[in-house]
């Protein structure tokens, strides 16, 4: 089960935040295929998010093929995310942890590491 | 209807109850004194208060029931609550005024019983014109309507009460001194110029003077007016008869009915004004303009 949290001060629209949280939960294995997402009414009552926003988030996820709406019974997780097998994921994580230790030794703060990762991901000059 | 009865009672029960108690005490005093006192005796004080209340009852209803009715809602801004429901403002007004009017009429009938210290035993008399249920009914309706309209216009309880009082006193004086004697043309008693015209017992004298040769009232010449017994002087100046215009005592009841009708129509007109005002100022809040 996921519990949604909306950062109201964020510039990211709330429905995108909800979608991102579902993806994250699926990625980290907290949600598996066949699991039911909370009903719109539940999300509204627990997180104080507009029902339209929740519906919009669920629709986006459905379009992306991650979840499916079953008539009359709710929204269910359909697929998993990420193609890597768990053991591969574990190995990558180990490597990255080692790299972070190296970076810290070189005097980088968390913020610097973050900037570096972002730059690499966005395909900047030092990227692939 | 049931809703408005409930609401009116819930909101105004204390003022209704206290006025009712007051009216009950006053009317029982009026009746009791009426039965036990013979004319000419000195006035028992409680009865005097009762008569005072009988005279002023319409003003009390107007000031304490009518004026705060709408003005208080404005002052406390609860008109936004009252007029934001499915019951439209017009129906709210009509319902409240209706319920209050019925209650006021019951009390008016009570207040119209008995005549207190004035002690006339045999029914009608001009002196106790107000001591009749019908007349009191007219007065309370008039007071209520004045109060409601001024409350709606002033939107401020104190101001509305002051205006209601002033207007009520004004209208009552206008009726008592100006209009009432003209409800029917007065009867005229005529006698030779040197004698006084005889007027039936209990009649209300409207005017008196001398008639000229043409049978019309004549102006009293200045030289005669100064005399203590002007009859001879008048006769010398062309006066033929003396006359007295009066309303006979038999007409009292008819006049009381007329007074009620006058007050009732006035009240009705004022209420229609208030109703129109509220209808124009406030559309029915809930469904003021439906989309097609």
């Amino acid at each position: 089960m996921v519990e949604f949290r909306v950062d109201r001060a964020s510039g990211l629209p709330a429905y995108l935040q909800l979608g991102r949280q579902v993806r994250e939960a699926v990625r980290l294995g907290r949600l598996r295929p066949g699991d039911r997402l909370p009903t719109v009414r539940d999300v509204v009552a627990t997180s104080g998010v507009n029902a339209n926003t929740v519906l919009k988030a669920y629709r986006e996820l459905e379009l992306a093929g991650l979840v499916e709406a079953r008539q009359g019974s709710g929204t269910y997780v359909k697929a998993t995310l990420g193609t890597a097998a768990p053991e591969v994921l574990e190995e990558l994580r180990g490597k990255f942890a080692k790299w972070v230790i190296e970076a810290r030794a070189a005097g980088l703060e968390a913020e610097d590491i973050d900037a570096l990762v972002r730059a690499v991901l966005s395909g900047g000059p030092d990227g692939a | 209807m049931k809703a408005m009865v409930w609401l009116t009672w819930r909101q105004h029960r204390w003022v209704l109850l206290s006025t009712a108690v007051l009216a009950l005490i006053a009317s029982s005093l009026l009746v009791a004194v009426d039965l036990t006192e013979s004319p000419g005796r000195s006035v028992p004080l409680p009865a005097f208060y009762a008569v005072l209340l009988q005279t002023a009852f319409g003003a009390v209803i107007g000031m304490f029931w009518g004026a705060p009715l709408v003005a208080r809602e404005f002052e406390e801004r609860t008109h936004l609550v009252a007029w934001g429901q499915d019951v439209t403002p017009q129906r709210w007004l009509a319902g409240k005024v209706g319920v209050l009017a019925v209650f006021a009429l019951v009390l008016a009938v009570l207040m119209g019983q008995g005549d207190g210290f004035r002690g006339y035993q045999d029914g009608a008399s001009w002196a106790l014109f107000e001591a009749h249920p019908l007349v009191q009914a007219g007065y309370v309706l008039l007071g209520l309507a004045l109060g409601v309209l001024f409350g709606l216009l002033a939107r401020h309880t104190l101001t509305a009460m002051a205006f209601t009082l002033a207007a009520y006193v004004g209208v009552r004086m206008l009726l008592a001194l100006g209009w009432r004697e003209h409800y029917l043309p007065a009867e005229r008693a005529v006698a030779p110029v040197r004698e006084a015209a005889s007027v039936p017992k209990g009649a209300e004298i409207v005017a008196s003077g001398y008639l000229g040769g043409d049978g019309e009232p004549m102006a009293v010449p200045d030289i005669c007016a100064r005399l203590s017994r002007p009859a001879a002087c008048i006769a010398a100046n062309g006066g033929t008869d003396s006359y007295v215009d009066y309303q006979p005592v038999e007409r009292v009841f008819g006049f009381q009915v007329t007074e009620f009708l006058v007050c009732f129509l006035l009240a009705l007109g004022l209420f229609v004004l208030a109703h129109e005002r509220i209808r124009r100022g406030w559309r029915p809040s809930r469904t003021h303009r439906r989309l097609a």
Binding site: V6, D7, R8, A9, S10, G11, L12, P13, A14, Y15, L16, Q17, V40, R41, V44, A45, T46, S47, G48, V49, N50, A51, N52, T53, K56 | K2, A3, W6, L7, R10, Q11, E76, R77, T78, L80, V81, A82, W83, G84, Q85, D86, V87, G281, W282, R283, P284, S285, R286, T287, H288, R289, R290, L291
Partner: protein, 265 residues
Amino acid sequence: MTVRVENVSKWALHHCSFELPAGSVTALVGANGAGKTTLLNILAGHLPADFGHVAVAGRVAFVPQDKPMYKGFTPLDVLKFGGHMNKVWDEYRAHSWLHRYRVPLKLRCGDLSGGQRAHVAFALALGSRPDVLLLDEPLAELDPLARRKVVRDLLAEVADTGMTLLYSTHVVAELGGVADRLLLLSDGKLLVDGDTDELLGEHLEIVGPAADEPPVAGEVVLARHQQRQSSFVVRCPESAVVEEPWTARPVTLEELVVAHLEAAA
């Protein structure tokens, strides 16, 4: 559309037009004296517009900012009042709201605290099952904890009944995810009217070297220039791409509102 406002003028308001779809939650934002209360009063039918017209499909409930209530009534009396005065009345809904917020039912409203009185007003409004609910600064008397709870519960009511909610507020920081539409009033003029998600997507803050114009096509909401740096808040298509040396950053709702208000001032 459940609410349509066409070219309405009254006092501070100048020619406002907008429409609200059924079931939407709209925040009405603006400085003090911008005309928010006037607009809500017109929609509730308590004020006639001088010009233009207003149409509301269905029944309206309005809770004014000062939450007026009969001081001599107990909350139970208020529920009875609602039952008597309305064609549709949901006693359970009204009662459970009072119960949820622990409003003492047998004290006079005059003796209740500001927050409790606000809850009585909400209960009366919700109990009449309105199609359109208008709230003027509904959260002003409430503590931060109660604000969240009230927002959650109001949104749940909206989800349950499909009513349209329009509320005015100053606290823009609490709007995200709550309001799906934003109406921004300034000096009686409607500056922004739109879907909050779309608005957030369209607005960008772009920072770069001193320049007169931003590097993307679009409406410049606000421009700030310093000696070596210019920053723009721009309303542009979501697909707009910003090239080096400019950097773009999405704006928050609060920044968006402030930028528009600042530009209008």
